[in-house]
Amino acid sequence: MATVSFTPNIQRHVSCPTSEVAGNTVREVLDAVFENNPNARGYVFDEQGAIRSHMVVFVNGRQVLDRESLSDAVERTAEIYVMQALSGG
């Protein structure tokens, strides 16, 4: 199971507890997270399902490259962090 953690700053708007979910790609993992927490989806993804411009996702310390399809592979025990990009202010 991958572990998914969120920036503390998102918690002010919508609760995003750390969770463990299964999935082979970033898309599968985050879809699983947001299936259980649908209010959080729009805070991380835009309407087209891409990562918002000023959000970044790390998998085992490496920034996700495919921000639209989220096809980056996820290892079984990966640690995923959903963070803010400083470009957003």
């Binding site: 708007h13 729009g42 805070y43 835009d46 087209q48 891409a50 803010q84 957003g88």
Partner: protein, 370 residues
């Protein structure tokens, strides 16, 4: 209920009310969303519901509403674009940047008379409708799918946007929208069909043979008289325009002083010949002329303009007033405007005299009497 003035700023929402007695001061009585970027605010009187649009730098555009008071805000749905077809080419025509099918800014909120139909104008150019008080929003595809929409371009932003929504006071189905930069569009059937109605507007920023193209006009703000619905005013990128025929044709006002550049305009609710503006030097210098902050007023339909400055700073003032940051109350006597420096002024005699309410707010995006 005493009159309230809502102020949406770069860092929160403020509610002001006028105290009674001899002091009659406008004071902040409530705050909300401190630290957050509030782009639009609308109080809907029929249901006593207030809507606020927030633009979180990281987390996107969100809408919140509250009923009967200021303590219990709840997030409701935000305008959301549909899935973009995979094979569609959709770019901003100047930069050729791909146009995002995602809400970049909720720029304006308006409500119909009965309060249950909301409209929201957004960047990158989508108009949205809600028939359930913000529980859900639908993109008005009849406008979004027009071929002309792909010719709209950004004015001051990377992408075009709808900033003005005028709901006809006699007919909720008749709606006029102003677009930067995409002219003025009108529906008479609640958004089923649309007509481009910017005839007469002139774009000084275009080559001579295209200056009167309707679809590339940049009306910074369009307002409609509440009791003379055929009368509109527009503060345009390079001039002041007026329509007296339901926006079918527009006439440029030539007597505007000290400048015809600006963003905000308000029209008297009972006198279509009276309108107010807050001018700046030009698009290249978005500051008051000679460092003197003034309000411009016409009371004769644009034949002449007065420069109102009593109570306003006349030395080294560099305030800019955004397009939604000037409002007039329902009797036409009380006005308020707020600026990029966080200063807020109120006049209780149609602009003849102004009182500084505060100079310490965050940059002000919108003021709204309720």
């Amino acid at each position: 209920m005493s009159q309230s003035l809502y102020v949406a700023t770069r860092k929160g929402v403020f509610t002001l009310q006028r105290s009674g007695g001899s002091t009659r001061e406008w004071r902040i009585v409530a705050t909300a969303f401190l630290g957050d970027n509030a782009s639009a605010i609308k109080h809907e009187p029929e249901t006593d519901t207030t809507f606020v649009a927030l633009g979180h730098g990281h987390f996107g555009v969100k809408l919140h509403r509250t009923e009967k008071g200021w303590q219990r805000w709840q997030e409701c749905a935000a305008p959301s674009y549909p899935k973009k077809p995979d094979d569609m080419v959709d770019v901003e025509p100047n930069s050729k940047k791909p146009l995002p099918w995602a809400t970049q800014l909720a720029w304006t909120l308006e409500s119909s008379r009965n309060g249950w139909r909301l409209w929201c104008g957004t960047i990158p150019g989508g108009l949205f409708m809600s028939n359930d008080a913000g529980d859900s929003w639908t993109l008005v595809e009849s406008l979004w799918n027009r071929n002309e929409r792909k010719e709209w371009f950004g004015g001051g932003y990377d992408f075009p946007g709808i900033h003005s929504i005028c709901i006809d006071p006699n007919n909720d189905d008749r709606v006029t929208v102003g677009i930067s930069c995409g002219g003025v569009w009108v529906t008479a059937d609640a958004g089923n069909t649309w007509q481009l109605q910017a005839t007469g507007m002139r774009a000084a920023y275009m080559p001579p043979d295209r200056q009167y193209d309707a679809n590339i006009q940049d009306p910074h703000r369009v307002v409609q008289c509440k009791t003379a619905a055929s009368h509109f005013w527009a503060q345009h990128h390079n001039g002041v325009f007026r329509s007296t025929d339901h926006a079918a044709t527009w006439t440029e006002m030539t007597a505007v002083k000290p400048s015809s550049f600006g963003f905000a305009v308000a029209v008297h609710p009972h006198d279509p010949d009276t309108a107010w503006f807050v001018p700046g030097v030009s698009d290249e210098k978005r500051i008051p002329v000679d460092g003197q902050l003034v309000v411009t007023r016409t009371t004769d339909g644009g034949e002449s303009f007065e420069t109102l400055k009593n109570g306003l700073p006349q030395h080294h003032a560099y305030d800019l007033t955004f397009r939604h940051a000037l409002d007039v109350n329902e009797d036409g006597n009380v006005l308020a405007f707020g600026t990029t420096t966080g200063s807020l002024w109120v006049s209780e005699n149609s602009g003849n005299n102004w009182t500084s309410v505060t100079t310490n707010l965050p940059p002000i995006h919108a003021v709204h009497f309720a």
